[in-house]
Symmetry: C2
Subunit: 229 residues, 2 copies
């Protein structure tokens, strides 16, 4: 089986991306980051998802982006609530944007892939129902892929490094449906930027962008969110 | 003064890159990585160089690439000695290549730059007298810059992120000369991949690619290397 690196946050989208990698016949190596995010509870969710979907391995890399700050997800800035109208994305880049986050995550995934002898990287970015982050857009992914094939031994020798974005053109509704079809247990995932922690349990806030988009997706899919059960 | 992020390894090239950033009128924020490199002593050299050249700040990011392995610089693989003929580069990519290293370093620098409100990143890559790493070549740097302008808030809004490579077209001889002209104290730098450690002192091995290229540069410049004094 060919190997692939899958960026796994612990949220719903990356869980479906991991399931897609498996469905496409890859041995999946899940990669998560402990980057100082306030919603660090997502790392426990990532471990549950990696186990449930039988990733070959789950690696968590520590990379403290709090040294820089500049984002509501890593610094002492409030996560905006009820910011986006239900049913619509938003063209403005919000304060939850983490500078260059997907570039950094994809770069480390690229190094991991090269070490594994893999040339496929999966990332659950989505440019339909999303927060407006520039590093989720197809033109960014294409530019990253081109750069990756120029900046690595593997890329220079084989020109075959691919960044796969199976969710890029799906609505949140379709991501929910696709996940269910692939056997993803959404009850294991945590999508929220600002979860309410009670002991080991992390409950979604219900009001951040990520929560609103997730609720919208489940509602439109006509399915109850098992994480809210 | 505009701000710039300068990747600073502690070796001779990045020291000159930092001096170039200062000479170009930037307030320089030096960025180093503790990535599990066997030549970790270079981080002490980086701190000395940052202080000597009056960087506004020197940040060291911990990012343990040993988790992946795959390189003589981060795993239990011997650093090749006397590999390249004196006076010549080498087209083959050696085992000291660290998968996607410059991509990872530039990505983190990009996040730091965006947080600082900077749009210039300096890196001391050189594609004349070098080890044959793909991520030192101008075509890689250009592709990275293009990607950076698509994947960041700053890039999308202003299209002005620049990766500056003042050493790209210089020979090692000219890097030595340029550094001396800019007041770089090469005695503070450590270029070697496999230094001999005696207490706090790290002496260059004299036989790895980095040592050979450095010796060649000083000899051709007609200057004694103060690090060997």
């Amino acid at each position: 089986m060919p190997k692939a690196v899958v960026l796994l946050s612990g949220g719903m989208d990356s869980a479906v991306a991991l399931a897609e990698a498996k469905a496409a016949g890859f041995e999946a190596y899940a990669l998560s980051f402990d980057y100082g995010q306030r919603h660090r509870a997502e790392l426990r969710a990532a471990a549950r998802v990696a186990s449930s979907l039988q990733a070959a391995k789950h690696v968590v890399i520590a990379l403290d982006l709090r040294v820089f700050g500049g984002s509501a997800l890593t610094a002492d800035i409030a996560v905006p609530k009820d910011r986006i109208g239900d049913g619509a994305g938003n063209a403005e880049i919000p304060v939850t944007y983490v500078p260059a986050r997907n570039t950094i995550f994809l770069s480390v995934a690229l190094g991991y892939a090269e070490t594994l002898g893999a040339h496929d990287i999966f990332i659950g970015v989505n440019a339909i129902d999303y927060s407006g982050y520039p590093d989720c857009r197809p033109e960014f992914i294409e530019a990253f892929e081109r750069m990756a094939n120029l900046g690595t031994k593997r890329g220079v020798e084989s020109h075959d490094i691919r960044v796969r974005t199976p969710l890029a053109a799906l609505s949140k509704r379709d991501i929910v449906r696709r996940g269910i079809a692939l056997g993803v247990d959404f009850g294991l995932t945590l999508t929220c930027y600002d979860p309410v922690l009670t002991g080991d349990r992390a409950a979604p806030c219900g009001h951040c962008d990520a929560c609103i988009l997730r609720m919208q997706g489940f509602r439109e899919a006509g399915v109850a969110d098992p994480a809210l059960a």
